[in-house]
């Protein structure tokens, strides 16, 4: 336990001193403000651009347009930033050899994995909540929010998807010992899941859909049963990937 706490503290110090925490908080705060601003000013921007005499009119934006932007931004730029910033989580230590001193002190190998997952999950949660808070504040200022149905599931789902990607990066880093290997595995899985998502029947089971049509869940167009299976599968996958990372790391030659 003391080893877990000590290493967790080290992970926190590392995320501060390598600017990872600062950058992720900054990026997600930016995305949180960007989404409502973009929704609000889109019609203005369209009006001001001259499309060669063609008049483009957009309907008056609503709170839901803001949330649609939010899930789009978080799901694309947000997750991309999270993945790039976290890809070195295992890989950097294994390629450099910094874990040798730690492990030869008697630290359990699985503790390393759990510790890293804990801190990465916390940083992701803090960044995402900051993003959500900013988006919520701006949206509430611009529009009447109206009723947001199933808002917990709608807002929690993207975080779960992010956690899945983090654990994929940990597994990739453990298996391949390199930043690129870690990125490739995660990228490969994301591409595969995106291709699977073309099949409508599979969408409700596919973790990648956890950050997509969340607005439809909040307006009532989609139901809990369209999201919950994917969320449960995603959570199970996180547990399985953690176990796989522990096994892979136990067998890794250092």
């Amino acid at each position: 336990m003391s080893a877990y706490l000590a290493f967790t503290k080290k992970e926190l110090i590392e995320s501060v001193r390598t600017y990872k925490l600062l950058v992720l908080l900054g990026v997600f705060l930016l995305l949180g403000m960007m989404s409502p601003l973009f929704a609000k000013f889109m019609p203005e921007i369209l009006k001001s651009v001259d499309f060669g005499g063609m008049e483009l009119t957009a309907p008056e934006p609503t709170a839901m347009d803001s949330w649609t932007q939010f899930f789009k931004n978080v799901g694309q730029i947000g997750l991309l930033a999270l993945v790039i910033a976290s890809a070195g989580i295992m890989a950097n230590e294994l390629s450099k050899g910094t874990l040798v001193n730690i492990l030869t002190k008697g630290m359990k190998r699985h503790t390393v994995i759990l510790s890293k997952l804990t801190v990465a999950a916390l940083i992701w949660a803090a960044s995402y909540m900051l993003c959500l808070a900013a988006a919520y504040g701006y949206t509430a200022y611009f529009w009447d929010m109206g009723e947001l149905r199933h808002r917990f599931l709608a807002f929690f789902s993207p975080w779960l998807l992010g956690l899945f990607l983090i654990q994929l990066l940990i597994l990739g880093g453990t298996l391949f010992k390199t930043f690129i290997g870690s990125l490739m595995l995660t990228g490969g899985v994301v591409v595969a899941m995106s291709l699977l998502n073309i099949i409508p029947k599979l969408q409700r089971y596919n973790p990648i859909s956890l950050c997509g049509d969340n607005t439809a869940l909040m307006t009532g167009v989609k139901d809990v049963s369209d999201f919950l299976p994917a969320a449960i599968i995603c959570a199970l996958l996180v547990v399985m990937l953690t176990a796989a990372s522990v096994v892979a790391f136990d067998r890794k030659q250092m």
Binding site: I77, A85, F179
Partner: protein, 65 residues
């Protein structure tokens, strides 16, 4: 335009953070001589890529040796 000025107090924090990220990356780039990957010119250019630029620099280019 009128709308933009009206909402200026809401736009300023956004611009501040965007510039803050860029400044953090640029300051780090110019106060360090070596990079894990790439060179100074590359990272200066890349940091101007919105949002992802600074993220890339701190994840891949930053070297604290």
């Amino acid at each position: 335009m009128e709308e933009l000025i009206k909402y200026l107090p809401l736009l300023i924090p956004y611009a501040a953070i965007e510039l803050g990220l860029l400044a953090a990356a640029l300051i780090h780039i110019f106060t360090h001589k070596t990079y894990r990957k790439g060179n100074r010119a590359l990272w200066v250019i890349l940091s101007f890529v919105q949002i992802i630029g600074p993220v890339l620099y701190f994840a891949i280019g930053r070297n604290d040796e």
